[in-house]
Point group: C2
Chain length 242, copies 2
DNA sequence: CGCGACTTTGAAGTAAATCAATGGGCGTGG
DNA sequence: CCACGCCCATTGATTTACTTCAAAGTCGCG
């Protein structure tokens, strides 16, 4: 986790290209950049731990960061996988509370850290920035709700089918592909399953002809059948075998 | 779910007494009141369903509202129990997305509905209101994280002890009481357990001398032992019996 | 007092975790 | 180019914690 000095101009440049910061005025961007710095984190390195004070907003410039709760069991619950252009740490930052989860780089990453005071001061001045942050927070709430939805059903088959259905493109009703954003182990942890169980469920759905698995690529062949399975909470036994 | 006409003055009065709206200027309050109306909902009546368009911010004036995901099993996952002075529906409102959960009154309730357009327009104008909403959203994110933390551990004993520890008053290290905000059935659903399992876990912790249960009142006698149990993921068997 | 909602208790079945071992993919280095 | 190690994924056998089903018990309240 090394500091990586960049000029404010470079930083404001990076900021302006980052998703929801796009609409901000140049003045705000410049001010934010003043209170920002970039760091690099190596794969598997910790960014912060649960309970650490929240001192900055983290924006992922490159790489991927995993947010997770550790369960003392040595099992962990993955809360989110944060990719390029997304941010994390905003909620605890705004409330001035310690972080509620651990953050760890899944691959070598560049992160932009926007200082707390700077961000809050700017948000008060620029209502456009406040809107950006609200949108981000709202999105996070929705994500967490979806997460709860997909990780709480009793049956593991339901959890998996629910997860697959959530990734259905909003437009079409037909088939679609999902490229897993992380290892199956982490996806399993997100669904509160073991990697073994996830593997078995994928197998089951494959046998049913609902999906097709090729490494990280999941091909959903029959989303209707998937929805059916999800509704019926069909146990992983033979119930739906033809 | 009946409309309940009140004068804008009355409404702005109610608003001003509601937690995070307290700091708002009278002008903003008046404007919000213009776009607000009050409804009454009877116990067990639905307020909105998952998938409904989000048209207003809901503020609980009296009563209690349960937000939950239904699992097709006929089991449900309680996402939140919203009490007097708290709001719900803000995330989907802001994003213009359909509601992500069902809302149902747990007791006869009065709700204040602030119209979407009104709220958004005011939030753009009054940065103080924007801050209120951000604080609310941040709080909701933190709540959801805590929820995930307490409903995802494998062992039900861990889930319960984690829940009890989360309600520890921030100040003291000593004993404390918890008055459950709803039925044990709903608390169980919040922890993703059945009421039966919750009952058994309470019993187990009682036998250990860690807690004492009197109806909805949980007396935590030995939070240290509780933390110990939580760390050790002690299975509900006889492991810790002396 | 007696009804309904909530809670507790018991017995049984099962889904998923755990343990353990093999297999595949990929990069490093001989 | 193959050999080795590492990590990820798969598969099988075993165990058990939790749900489910069923019934009795408690509480509050009209």
């Amino acid at each position: 986790m090394n500091a990586f000095p960049l000029s404010p101009t470079q930083i404001s440049d990076i900021l302006s290209r980052l998703g929801y910061f796009r609409d901000l005025g140049p003045a705000t961007l410049r001010n934010l950049a003043q209170g920002a710095r970039q760091i690099t984190v190596r794969r598997m390195e910790s960014v912060f731990n649960k309970g650490d004070p929240a001192e900055a907003l983290y924006v992922v410039v490159s790489g991927q960061v995993k947010l997770y709760l550790s369960q003392a069991n040595r099992s962990e619950k993955v809360v989110a996988l944060v990719n390029h252009g997304q941010s994390f740490g905003i909620a605890s930052l705004w409330l001035g509370l310690p972080h509620a989860a651990h953050a760890m780089a899944k691959s070598d990453s560049h992160l932009l850290l926007v200082d707390r005071q700077t961000l809050i001061r700017q948000a008060r001045q620029d209502s456009l920035l406040a809107e950006c942050l609200m949108t981000d927070l709202s999105q996070r709430v929705m994500d967490l709700m979806h997460d709860l939805e997909s990780c709480t059903p009793r049956s593991s088959l339901q959890r998996v089918s629910c997860f697959l259905l959530q990734h259905r493109p909003e437009s079409g009703l037909g088939d679609y592909d999902i490229l897993l954003t992380s290892t199956k182990r982490d996806i399993a942890a997100k669904l509160n399953l073991t990697q073994e169980t996830l593997s078995r469920m994928f197998q089951h759905l494959s046998r049913e002809g609902a999906i097709q698995v090729q490494g990280r690529l999941i091909r959903v062949l029959d989303s209707h059948k998937l929805a059916e399975i999800n509704r019926l909470q069909c146990p992983p036994g033979e119930a739906l075998s033809e």
